[in-house]
Symmetry: C2
Subunit: 421 residues, 2 copies
């Protein structure tokens, strides 16, 4: 049980795991007490224990401990979206379908266009670089927003459903943009047929998975419920979530999209209550790893304005950050025909994450983006991620939020702040 000959020391990973959980809960508690979402505390805790400051939690997935943290973080965010899917009403999701699609499309087109335009004006010419810069600005990373809305008890609002629905559609659009961008990086060309196939595969997977899931999950879990061994319900629920996450990954979607679909499906089973109750402690153990590791990946050295080499990076990063925020906020206002908290919807779409980084990494490895542009994109990703939790809470608190099915929440208008819509 010493394992001294191993590449990975079990004891050392226990140490990392302890630090992650302890930092997450203590900082989460602190932030909640000062009126901020707990997840912001977890992100900040991650910055402190991560590479920039204490260096305890590694995030480089090509290193042994980093890959452990990375995989457990991905399990964590998959379980989070599974849990959110479980607590989401499928019919309500369909009801907001057109709004979500509008937010998604506008929220992809505007940041892409203005990112492209910015680079075109800033550097002149070089349209391939401009396309990459635009692409990195498109895809929302919904984990942060979903967690904030769970923390503040707003996950069952129409606004939350539109955000999550838009993020799912966003992910499909991101997949298509990735294919286009990869084609441009590799061969300078785009295969319309290839992109169409990818789109068909992704949409087809979701449709087929939902159809099969909704018709079979009920009796499948009746069978599981009759099994005698301990812990079958929570285990099979997790297997179901991981399976759909795995299949989503296979067709090129984010695993969390599959996990969310799994939750939607299992919310219609008779064992729903037990599943929710038992998956919660598992989520409590895994999800902090995701948020702490996001914080741990923040590199504060590139933010230091005292370093002259950071100046241009900071300027470009700030510009991209502004485009990233305004593009998604405008997308929120695109659902002009609905009386909703449109600013909150837009703000919920702001965080950019792994997908943008994958685009940027492709551009860097393909020799299209310079290290400076890559760093500026990193600043945009870190900024949009860290700004969302503190902004989203007051936005959701200060105006009337429609909660269909569960009655309307009381109208809360703070002094001096009018209703937004």
């Amino acid at each position: 049980m010493e394992g001294s000959a191993h590449l990975v020391e079990v004891g050392h990973f226990f140490y990392i795991f302890i630090v992650i959980l302890l930092a997450a809960k203590l900082a989460g508690e602190l932030f909640e007490r000062i009126g901020q979402p707990a997840v912001l505390g977890e992100l900040v805790a991650g910055v402190v224990v991560g590479a920039s400051i204490l260096g305890i939690v590694p995030v480089d997935p090509s290193q042994p401990y980093g890959s452990l943290v990375h995989v457990m973080a991905e399990i964590g965010v998959a379980i989070l979206l599974f849990e959110i899917g479980l607590e989401t009403d499928l019919r309500e999701m369909f009801r907001v379908g057109s709004s979500a699609a509008t937010v998604a499309v506008v929220g992809v087109v505007l940041p892409f266009f203005f990112g492209y335009l910015f680079w075109h004006l800033y550097e002149g010419g070089a349209s391939l670089v401009a396309i990459f810069v635009g692409a990195t600005l498109t895809a929302t990373s919904v984990g942060i927003t979903a967690r904030v809305l769970t923390d503040i008890g707003k996950i069952n609002t129409s606004e939350a459903r539109i955000i999550i629905g838009a993020a799912v559609i966003d992910d499909i659009l991101g997949l298509l943009i990735l294919a286009v961008v990869e084609g441009l990086a590799d061969t300078g060309q785009v295969s319309i047929l290839g992109v169409t196939k990818l789109f068909g595969l992704a949409v087809g997977f979701l449709a087929v998975a939902m159809a099969i899931g909704l018709t079979t999950a009920r009796w499948l879990f009746e069978l599981v419920n009759r099994m005698r061994v301990r812990g079958v319900l929570v285990t099979f629920a997790l297997v179901f979530a991981l399976l759909l996450a795995y299949l989503a990954d296979l067709v090129g979607l984010a695993p969390i999209v599959g996990a969310f679909a799994a939750g939607l499906i299992l919310s219609r089973t008779n064992q729903f209550d037990t599943i929710v109750e038992q998956i919660k402690p598992v989520a409590d153990v895994f999800t902090p790893i995701f948020f702490v590791s996001i914080g741990a990946a923040v590199d504060i050295t590139i933010l230091d304005p005292r370093r002259p080499e950071n100046h241009e990076v900071l300027v470009i990063g700030a510009a991209l950050f502004v485009i990233a925020v305004l593009g998604k906020v405008a997308a929120g206002y695109a659902v002009f025909w609905r009386k909703l908290n449109r600013l909150a919807i837009g703000a919920g779409m702001v965080p950019r994450g792994e997908v943008g980084l994958i685009f940027a990494q492709l551009g860097l490895l393909g020799g299209i983006l310079t290290r400076d542009v890559f760093s500026a994109i990193l600043i945009m990703v870190m900024g949009t991620t860290l700004i969302t939790p503190p902004v989203l809470k007051p936005l959701f608190d200060r105006v009337k939020i429609a909660t269909p099915g569960g009655g309307e929440e009381p109208l809360v208008v703070k002094p001096g702040i009018g209703e937004l819509d």
Copy 2:
């Protein structure tokens, strides 16, 4: 979210995790239905999905996916022993202290002596090899037995407490033997001072951890209980278990000894019920990884009698297996002054695990043991692990088991089988 550039593909690990959980639960159910402990099903499922047959679940901890499985398996067995500690009455543990110590000491001395003697007679001379062979036979790996006793609902018997107590003491003795054996392998000498220091450190750690834990855990968890963020109780309970596991590892003990101590301590808190309820689903998700990975490590090719090169290995392995079993069974009978199911105690001590393998690996790397002797030791470890679940259940079922504190169980004497004591 694609992560294609990584050493570890998240999607592929999801696949491995799905296979582990699914195989464990389906085989566990099957074995329970045919009257066997579920854990035997998990072990057999592991053999099927492991390296020898399907090759889906990797176990080599120096490989990326293998190290992931290894670390999550170790978390799993730590949570299992934590849970068992939670459900164990500390006073009852102390009450069986002298019995446990007797079983531990006899169960280390006899297998060591007969292992040494066997090799001395078989090979002649070469006393260093004989010492190594003897050492590999000493240390019980309690995970299997603990899980079987949980599966069949006998974890709260005096017999179970003696087995677990003896396994803890066993681990301390194993630590000392490891130091002796390492000294012999490196320098041919033994440092009495060094061994004494190790012993003092291990016993001191346990004493101090229990003393501090028992005086502080109650108010610590009162504080935790007043925190507002979600999931604090289960998270802090897990942190506590991992912390003691980590510290145990640091002083050279098995992590599970620390995790068990953590459970004993937290069983005295006021939040005990909630902790047990919430740690169960987490255990359900992690522990199958441990048992499936043990099965997956079984190399059935060295058991194939049709291969001539296996013959001597099989003969030596069988001899070591017999010594391993008889030595521990005799240790069970060493508590001659108590009216207990002594055969069941001995049988519960039979499984050998990682500690024996570490001794064997040291000997192999130090050039003291040949590859054949190493393989024979592997056979002994695999055999003692796989034989225990099917044997333990009837042994615990067929005779009266004293359950102090909870009244006596009804005397069950099957036709033709008398009481053993």
